[in-house]
Symmetry: C2
Subunit: 281 residues, 2 copies
């Protein structure tokens, strides 16, 4: 196993999905052993383990919870589906508060079946946030709209750029709605550095996540994110943009990758921590 | 087989790649039989058939050649690789002129191995066009930079948006360098309509191509383009943008799709012509 002793992991946070082969207790143990100070959690494994038990487990281990992934999927046209989505997002806010994180990541949702109306879908997201933003803030939780790579625009997230995410977020106070800056989704976008500055100026960089861009993309393209350092993204360059914009928080590594998931989870966590140190400032 | 009699195919052009299961003579025969007036050709099948023979075949059949695909791949750092790419692009210009088309589509190329420098790669494209643009214009051929979807940014085309394509194209006269507007690559981009207007204002919409966006994307993502009408793209909306920008030329349908390629080529051509009429104005 990679040796993480001596590495400065102060700003490192491991997103749970990166090492999803580890159970929650295994993840917590590994973080403590390796000196990883923070985790980003996902709702499904937390719910499976039990919300209160998960909160206690992480708290007792002294781990910070940097984010909860994820709320969102707010593009439904059907009123019942919309009401269900809003209910589910309120539960996600409650879960975030219980886990002790101030940030709920939002993946906004794709086009409803048969629709070709990206603009309309984005407006429905904004409408939903008008209800969810105050609820989140009253629970001490900020919503962080995550623009996803344009290859997900139809089926997962109609918010494809930081500019679009900020155009929505800025309709609300920063303590209600901000953005997720994830290198995987924005690395190709020459406008993204300016949008990071814009986000920082209004205190809306609610989390910063790293993943590398590698090809060929797998079928369905979801689980093809590269280990930090394996691909085309200059991590230090993007770290520089968010830090110039005033971001001083944790940096999460969030990878979805079938090959990485097939490996030993503890070894992968140690490798990821080492890569984090190697490729960030 | 779909019946194309009675359809107005005046502005329809079939890109050869869409029906690559047809040999060049089969394609030409099918176009004549179905009343398809124009084709976009690809270099490799034309070279296999013989350039002069292909030019004669198409000319004798009375078919217009709307584009030749493709030049480009101009991002190499290595001087020898760069010189080879320039030579190859000059040959592509010559082939376009021989085939009687005024438009050579350029797919600019991805990042060289090990590089993470998108900006540098784009500058090398501009440098190359300073050599190729005058050569093309002196042969009656216009270069049409095609922005490819951002999912191709690392391995195929560092030009990901119409804005980037125009930022490069506008360094040169419009009769040397313009852009390719392809719905598949830009449909997600809220800035694209404004960029189409910009392109039209300087006479730089050199070709307009249709393909639909469907999911899930296949492994490698190259051959997942949807038949017109099968996906998320509102074709009439995009046709409206290019026509408002002054474009009155042919509209090519260019699909890369393994399932479509497994079908009878003539039947696919007839279906594509019918879809074109159904989904354009």
């Amino acid at each position: 196993m990679s040796d993480t002793s001596g590495l400065d992991l102060t700003r490192f946070s491991i997103n749970q999905q990166t090492v999803k082969q580890l159970s929650l207790p295994e993840l917590v143990d590994a973080c403590v052993d390796l000196g990883v100070p923070a985790v980003g959690l996902w709702r499904e494994p937390v719910q499976s383990y039990g919300l209160d038990a998960a909160a206690k487990l992480v708290r007792d281990a002294g781990l910070a919870v940097t984010t909860l992934c994820r709320g969102g999927f707010l593009t439904a046209i059907d009123p019942d589906a919309r009401a269900k989505a809003l209910d589910d997002n309120r539960r996600a806010v409650d879960e975030a508060a219980t886990l002790g994180t101030d940030t709920l990541v939002l993946v906004s949702g794709g086009l409803p079946a048969g629709s070709k109306d990206l603009r309309g879908a984005r407006e429905r997201i904004a409408d939903a946030l008008a209800e969810l933003g105050p609820y989140a803030a009253s629970n001490g939780v900020r919503l962080a709209i995550e623009p996803l790579h344009p290859m997900f625009a139809s089926d997962r997230c109609v918010v494809s750029t930081l500019k679009q995410a900020l155009d929505i977020a800025e309709r609300f106070p920063a303590e209600q709605v901000g953005v997720t800056v994830d290198t995987y989704h924005i690395w190709w976008d020459e406008d993204a550095p300016a949008q990071i500055a814009r986000a920082g100026a209004s205190g809306r960089i609610h989390t910063f996540q790293l993943a590398d861009w590698i090809t060929p993309l797998p079928e369905g393209v979801l689980n093809g994110r590269g280990q930090v350092g394996d691909g085309s993204v200059d991590m230090r360059e993007w770290q520089g943009y968010v830090e110039a914009a005033g971001y001083t928080g944790s940096i999460e590594v969030e990878l979805f990758n079938d090959e990485l998931w097939a490996r030993d989870g503890r070894e992968l966590l140690a490798e990821t921590a080492a890569r984090f140190v190697e490729h960030t400032a």
